[in-house]
Symmetry: D2
Subunit: 103 residues, 4 copies
């Protein structure tokens, strides 16, 4: 994820767009809009139809989701790998792993 953070940050710096980091509310709005555009690929379609017809669009919208999520992580000074591991650990207490019963 370090590479993605670097690539996204560099893209903004090259365009003088670092002020976006001061607007996390607008970044959160943008993230919501991109998630919706990804969901739109599935509108009125079954899983199979959507993946067959819209895989390229899905890949672009998913990339946009990662890009804005990464911008938010930078804006909020969060380590992506760390917050994911913490959340998975928190989820794990609510949903323990299946015990593998062996006789």
């Amino acid at each position: 994820m370090n590479t993605i953070k670097k690539d996204v940050h560099q893209f903004l710096v090259e365009r003088g767009w670092e002020d976006q980091y001061q607007a996390p509310k607008d970044l959160a709005i943008s993230l919501t809009l991109e998630a919706s555009e990804l969901l739109e690929c599935f509108q009125w379609k079954s899983d199979k139809e959507a993946v067959a017809q819209k895989r390229v669009a899905m890949s672009e919208e998913l990339a946009d989701v990662f890009i804005y999520a990464t911008q938010l992580a930078i804006a909020l000074d969060l380590d992506i790998k760390a917050i994911v591991q913490e959340k998975l650990a928190k989820n794990a207490t609510k949903y323990p792993p299946k015990s593998v019963k062996q006789d």
Copy 2:
């Protein structure tokens, strides 16, 4: 991001939840819902107020966004670093870098 993909995948496998990969439409819905929960942290607040009051909640919801986005990448067999670089390259043609004028 490889680590995040591995951590997320392992979490699902440990619980026998790999069938989620067959339901990308429901994963896209989940991603939309988490993006909304992140946006909720900013509801009726300015950027400053939101970050001051809700930084922990933001970090958890942002983690959920990365988790579901990663699950979708696995479900659609997409390389996250690659699709981000492709989208940034596509954006770069629409928004070229600022030229640094030097006299």
Copy 3:
């Protein structure tokens, strides 16, 4: 819809909350959040399962959607019946009615 506009407006006035009309961006955010909470009723469920299990929750979230949509209409000084008729008319040019062929 006049009744709904009146009921919603009165609710705000009784609480001194008319300043919300000056914040259409936050109202649009609230509307998005409520639409997500409605969609959440269908998460990981089929249509049948969702309606069987979550009809009460759906009715409350749908009410919230109408309430915030109505607040936005008041804030933007829009006649709800009129904008709906205009949009249906616009959609009708894109999707003409099925012609009933009779031999």
Copy 4:
């Protein structure tokens, strides 16, 4: 709202689209997408800028929100005025009216 319910229902019937009533999950997705398109009118803008620049687009997207919300009400056999009044009543217990203190 009766008129809006009638107009929306007639639009669907004229096109043979009543099967949409059997797909409330997809209607809820559509409602979420339209709420996002409305929110997009405010992206990167202040309230004043957005209303000045995007009022026509806002009116069309808000109409779409009402149209899909109405379709969902029909699909779930809900009386819009009734569910709004019930929700306002429920909200009123949580947020009582401001008492007008008179000396």
